[in-house]
Symmetry: C2
Subunit: 443 residues, 2 copies
């Protein structure tokens, strides 16, 4: 029995204060997406297993919450949203107007080893532009990811976007003699280069590519810190991918985000489906996992039976972002549960308490009151404080005989008398109370 | 391959227009909850299986998406939120201040036969008050459920709340000679009375209770249309449950909701855990399944190892509500994807397009532009219409030489010239454009 008080490993319970913090993140995400002209979509919390294995191979199943439903269908809780997005765009076919500019704030599930910044159930913002190829769409999307972070108050002193290109890697690798069928394992190895250390990297590299001269060239390439250094490594540098990448950085300058964008050949991204630009957002201190990551995936919609559709997108998780916010001491206040707590002075006046609440609520004023009749005033005030209410409204007593109510500001302690039949307008007009201030989107 | 374009049976894909409709429902729910002084919580999307079997018995497993995770833990996707709520309140113990006034808007999953108004993945609003017993808390919660419906524009001509009491049933049944251990199967039978027809009901009833005289009394009781008729059936009517129920109806009158509240002895609720007041919201036409349902469950928090905690709550599903909204032709407009679509007149002016977007976005104005350089004006205008943008902002051309931009209202077709360096303030001050108008909470 006792263990059932805890939720499953890797999941979270969001009590109201924690939920307010989550909601603060979600609201900023929504606002950033709307500002950039993206609209929201959602999909099922689980998909047919093949939606994932088809895209990523059978290996992916190890990371999935996968099971059979009662009709024997193989099902998996979604580990990422991009397959659902690609499936939906494929199903929409040519009826969906291009470009598709969509975002989603969605729960995802991965059966993974628990680590700092990594849970088994988490929430991601996904932003994608489908139906457009070229550096302009890549720049717009990367710029949106930067601006999303700026919404929280982060600057280029807090985070950078590290950018590379799968296409560039492919062109460079083929040029130095790597075989096309060595590319996939090479990407997988390069993606974990920084995690496994130089020695293990060199060992695994020689397992993929036997020609040691090529291995040296790969290592040299991966020591390049800038595009200019790559151009100096010799070989043909009039590559389409390189020109596209230069254009991307130039466009990010036009967006005003040069201080945020860094070339990093080490950004490879683990997923097999990327076809062009790849990027990751990291905190400058480098203490945390990637804040966000994404890239161009031009073949995925077609893989799900849709028309050939160029696409670029990114995902940002809530867990790392929350850690970064907390480390920067950016935390929203815990908002009031109600704006007004009605306190009855008279005994046996429960009916008039309800009637007062009714008037306030009919005017969209958030309020509550003790659900215990004839409670003493001290206890009612304690309830008001527990609810973090902004005002206590005392009804009854001598004031009532004069047609008035006593309004106490619980933040600064100031009190005033208000005409009973003008209480709603006094709260709205004089004190600026209205539903918009307690509505989720404004807290 | 082709079948993977569809999501799993009983789930939904929410394309942006459908998502806007969902969001309209969620926003109204959030607003209603805040107005009544409830705060939001959330839990994991799945729980240990025993969280459900413990409460409802092994039978429940038939309706669950249940599976084992890779460590052999028995897990189930949540079919309702109340067990998670009770688990969280139990875990919070006495640290959580009473009353707990919580709401949640959450996805739920039931492996059930598909029917009108019933899907396998759906979304529910849950509102609960914990830590308070008595008719006052019941009335506050039922009143909140009524007001939630009023938020959408529904009136007492559209829906009613049908109210009964498990406690009343228990007191009446024991009085006419039903054994205590017959109560549970009797509730389960009564809950499906209207679905199975009179004949099947009588048959199953005699299976539970052999004394035909008692069966007649039960049938007589269930023919009572009002509390007054119950009082006339003979027997002691000075019952605590009856007095509480009368008080509840009286309080609902104080809330101004007498026109909505109806006594209905036939409301039993299937779930075993209800201990007092039970209620369901139905459309007046009776075409649909219940819009919402709930009641008092005073023993559930204790069942999960917490302190004895009286509780009352309800859940309302999105599927039936959406059907009712559509049948009443209450549908929100499909909001613009962006407020302003920037159209470049000059060739090779992509940089200035980005710069204009940057100014608007820095002023929290939602905007976008074609991601294809040097596109002709007609095509750019088509994109603006596809995005349902409210304004087209033409930049470049002769106007640019005079330091101006042409702003076209795409709703009424009116055009005007605006000083280029005042474009943001013109949009905000003259045209009332700002992020709040496209933010999710205001659409």
């Amino acid at each position: 029995m006792a263990n059932s008080v805890q939720g499953p490993k890797g999941t979270r319970d969001f009590y109201p204060q924690e939920m307010a913090f989550q909601q603060y993140i979600f609201d900023a995400w929504h606002a950033a997406c709307r500002k950039w002209g993206f609209e929201q979509y959602e999909g099922p919390m689980f998909e047919h297993l093949e939606v994932y294995t088809q895209k990523s191979g059978g290996e992916i199943e190890k990371q999935l919450y996968a099971f059979e439903d009662k009709a024997g269908r193989k099902i998996a809780l979604r580990p990422e949203l991009t397959p659902t997005l690609a499936r939906m765009v494929a199903a929409g076919g040519t009826n969906l107007k291009r470009p598709v500019r969509w975002y989603s704030i969605s729960r995802l599930f991965r059966y993974e080893k628990m680590q700092k910044g990594r849970l088994r159930e988490f929430i991601q913002l996904n932003m994608d532009i489908l139906g457009m190829d070229g550096a302009a769409a890549d720049a717009e999307l990367i710029a949106a990811s930067i601006d999303m972070m700026k919404t929280f108050g982060f600057t280029h002193e807090d985070f950078k976007v590290r950018i590379s290109s799968r296409m560039l890697l492919e062109e460079l690798f083929l040029q130095i003699g790597v075989d096309r069928d060595q590319l996939k394992p090479l990407y997988a190895l390069l993606d974990k280069k920084n995690k496994i250390g130089n020695e293990a990297f060199t060992g695994e590299l020689s397992g993929i590519i036997t020609d040691s001269e090529i291995c040296v060239k790969i290592t040299d390439l991966f020591n390049c810190k800038t595009i200019a250094e790559i151009e100096k490594t010799g070989g043909n540098t009039d590559l389409n991918s390189l020109n596209q990448l230069k254009k991307l950085f130039s466009l990010l300058g036009d967006y005003g985000f040069s201080d945020y964008a860094v070339f990093d050949i080490g950004i490879v991204r683990g997923l097999a489906y990327y076809t062009g630009t790849v990027f990751e957002l990291f905190d400058v201190k480098g203490d945390l996992r990637a804040i966000a990551g994404g890239g161009r995936y031009d073949n995925l919609v077609k893989l799900y039976g849709g028309p050939q559709t160029p696409a670029v997108g990114f995902a940002a998780g809530d867990v790392v972002l929350a850690e970064l916010l907390k480390s920067k001491k950016i935390t929203p206040p815990y908002p009031p549960r109600s704006d007004v707590f009605i306190i009855s002075i008279d005994e046996g006046a429960y009916e008039s308490t309800i009637r007062t609440a009714r008037i306030l609520r009919e005017n969209n004023i958030s309020c509550e009151f003790s659900l215990k009749e004839n409670q003493n005033i001290g206890k009612q005030l304690k309830l008001a404080n527990d609810a973090r209410s902004r005002f206590a409204l005392f009804i009854g007593g001598d004031e009532a005989k004069q047609g008035k109510m006593r309004l106490k500001n619980l933040v600064d302690g100031k009190e005033e008398l208000v005409e009973a039949d003008e209480i709603a307008s006094a709260l709205i007009l004089v004190h600026g109370i209205n539903l918009h201030c307690t509505a989720r989107s404004c807290t």
